[in-house]
């Protein structure tokens, strides 16, 4: 991407030199359109924030601006709703799922990217198909399996499978590993390194952005998951994560939009914070999963 941008700018200035007035009009038109779109895209967040700062009485009216501003909804979010436990459950789910996924999927992705053996193509195809097919197709037998083990009603059926690899993560990591020049691993092998040595001492340090992206995707997907917790924890409030709690709690406090919006904001905050700290890694990851290769 970095190599493309300077060349683009060169073209732009050359064109601008030729037709100055048309360029300026175009620039203004494009940026006006962008600014209007921006307002439309930001407005939902602004309204959610404003409503979360309203008093209960005010949320019952159609007013848009809080008068007075109050933080009461945020205090209530923790006092009236088991929000702390939901957060703890979500964190447990997302952190363990991510760690387990990395431990199991990194070696698998490395083997698929770098080791030549018969059957590798078939395994890769299975990974891709498993990644793309709707999870509802296999939901019943998997549910039966966990039910027979007595694990339904907990988050274990959502966490434990990651010990045995996650198809999307394997695919994504493999794509990253393929971008690392073969020469590095070949040189390490010449020096007598085993495949595990190549993986841990050559590939892992070089693939750090890719591993970070795969980890972030896994963390976000677990944090955002609604279908999984609905399937396995809906009967057992003790294990509800935030995403499920937020959707379900609304039902029992149907008129209190201020409180609901405060919880909505609190659910968004961790994900947005993580994104701002790891933005570059994240955008690279999305791009690689869809375009490159």
């Amino acid at each position: 991407m970095t190599t493309v941008v300077p060349r683009m700018m060169g073209t732009a200035s050359a064109t601008r030199f030729r037709r100055p007035s048309g360029r300026v009009v175009g620039w203004v038109a494009e940026h006006t359109l962008l600014a209007v779109l921006l307002v439309l895209f930001v407005a939902p967040i602004v309204f959610v924030l404003l409503t979360s700062l309203m008093t209960v009485n005010q949320t019952l009216t159609a007013s848009i601006w809080p008068n007075p501003f109050t933080a009461q909804n945020y205090l209530d979010a923790f006092a009236k709703v088991p929000l702390a436990r939901w957060f703890a459950n979500s964190a447990l789910y997302a952190v363990l799922a991510t760690l387990f996924m990395l431990a199991s999927s990194i070696p698998a992705a490395y083997a698929l990217a770098r080791l030549r053996f018969r059957g590798a193509n078939l395994i890769f195809l299975a990974v891709v198909v498993a990644m793309l097919l709707p999870p509802q197709i296999t939901a019943v037998p998997i549910y039966v399996m966990w039910a027979k083990l007595g694990f339904t009603g907990t988050l274990l059926p959502l966490i434990l499978p990651n010990l045995l690899g996650d198809a999307f993560s394997i695919f994504l990591l493999r794509q990253f590993f393929l971008t690392i020049p073969r020469e590095y691993s070949d040189a390490a092998r010449m020096d007598g390194a085993s495949e595990w040595g190549v993986l841990t001492r050559v590939i892992l340090p070089m693939a750090r952005p890719g591993i970070a992206a795969a980890g972030l995707f896994m963390f976000f997907n677990s944090w955002n998951d609604y279908y999984g917790p609905l399937l396995y924890t809906s009967e057992n409030e003790q294990w509800w994560p935030v995403s499920y709690g937020l959707a379900t709690f609304r039902g029992s406090h149907s008129t209190n939009w201020g409180l609901t919006m405060a919880i909505t904001v609190l659910v968004m905050v961790p994900v947005v914070l993580i994104f701002f700290f790891a933005q570059r890694v994240f955008v690279e990851g999305i791009t690689l999963s869809g375009v490159k290769g």
């Binding site: 683009m8 962008l34 939901a139 019943v140 279908y227």
Partner: protein, 332 residues
């Protein structure tokens, strides 16, 4: 450790016989590959291969988890195609999202990406601003949208009212519930937009310059330079979009639960699913209701098998057309 070793031995047969002439280091490398792949292979078998086959088996049975599955032949399928009162409503709703939501999302994200390619000042700011909504946890964005569009106190209808327009019922109107979710789908288009943006930035600049020298106008440059260059990405986004729409669940389920004002726990999920008037009852929700609210696991499996058949068609298309999904490059 012992279990891993024994599994490896078994998995070894998968790759065919090891030739006797194979050098020792190569054989050791093969063994390493298998050890590295063992957890993933077990996972693929246990959480993908087995349940896929088991779904087909269960689809021929009556099964409620309490007693053993009872073989009833094709009766689930017979019921599905001739008697199920809601399956075609649910299929039609899912089809609606495939046909309407997917193209609209593609076009808007492509449009925004095309604008962003041209915005050279503060490109990072614009990119982040339009991508950010895609990061909001889906449940949170649905709850937010149901609030924004709620007929009583929502800001959208408040603004419409100020303009002298009587706002509609949005998520509570059977005719508008799906279009309201399309608005949400546009708001969270950032994930697709980022892919298009990267593809547009990857179009070689000299091709534009050559086209311009040949006297091509803006439309012709788009038609003959941009379009052929981004077609693989368009296909990727289109087909993955269709596969995602086939499993459309969370947004519709949460919108129904929140807009109806009822909890979505346990049995209530079945009662609320599809609110208002089954207009948001998608096919995957119907699988959930039959399987996990009514515990008709055999019948839910028949529904799942039908979904598999449909999804497999699109999957085959994707595997043939998208280079990243074909394994050849691993051999380089």
């Amino acid at each position: 450790m012992t279990t891993i070793a024994s599994r490896t031995g078994r998995a070894g047969t998968l790759t065919g016989p090891v030739r006797p002439g194979l050098r020792r280091s190569q054989r050791r490398r093969l063994l390493t590959a298998l050890v590295m792949l063992t957890p993933a292979l077990l996972g693929l078998g246990l959480f993908f291969g087995y349940p896929l086959v088991a779904s087909v088996f269960y689809s021929f049975t009556r099964y409620n988890l309490l007693s053993e599955p009872e073989w009833i032949g094709l009766r689930n399928y017979q019921y599905l195609f001739t008697q199920d009162p809601k399956v075609w409503t649910a299929a039609a709703n899912t089809l609606w999202f495939v046909v309407i939501l997917v193209p609209i999302r593609l076009l808007t994200s492509l449009g925004v990406a095309a604008l962003l390619v041209r915005a050279r000042q503060a490109s990072g700011f614009w990119r982040t601003a339009f991508y950010l909504p895609a990061l909001v946890p889906p449940v949170a964005s649905v709850v937010a949208f149901v609030f924004l569009f709620n007929p009583g106190t929502g800001p959208v209808n408040a603004i419409l009212h100020a303009l002298g327009i009587r706002g509609p019922l949005w998520f509570s109107d059977p005719n508008l519930a799906k279009p309201s979710l399309v608005l949400l789908g546009i708001w969270v288009m950032g994930d697709v937009m980022i892919i298009f943006l990267a593809a547009l930035l990857d179009v070689p600049r000299d091709q534009y310059e050559a086209a311009e020298l040949d006297g091509a106008n803006a439309f012709q440059r788009g038609r003959y330079v941009t379009f052929p260059n981004i077609i693989p990405v368009l296909i990727f986004a289109g087909v993955t979009g269709v596969i995602a729409a086939l499993q459309y669940f969370t947004e519709a389920a949460v919108a129904s639960a929140v807009a109806s004002g009822k909890a979505s726990v346990g049995d209530a999920a079945g009662a609320v699913a599809g609110y208002p008037d089954d207009s948001l009852l998608t096919y995957t929700q119907w699988i959930y209701v039959r399987g996990f609210s009514n515990f008709q696991l055999g019948y839910a499996s028949a529904l799942a098998v039908l979904l598999f058949v449909v999804a497999a068609v699109f999957l085959a298309l994707l595997l043939r057309r998208v280079k990243a999904f074909t394994p050849e490059e691993a051999q380089s």
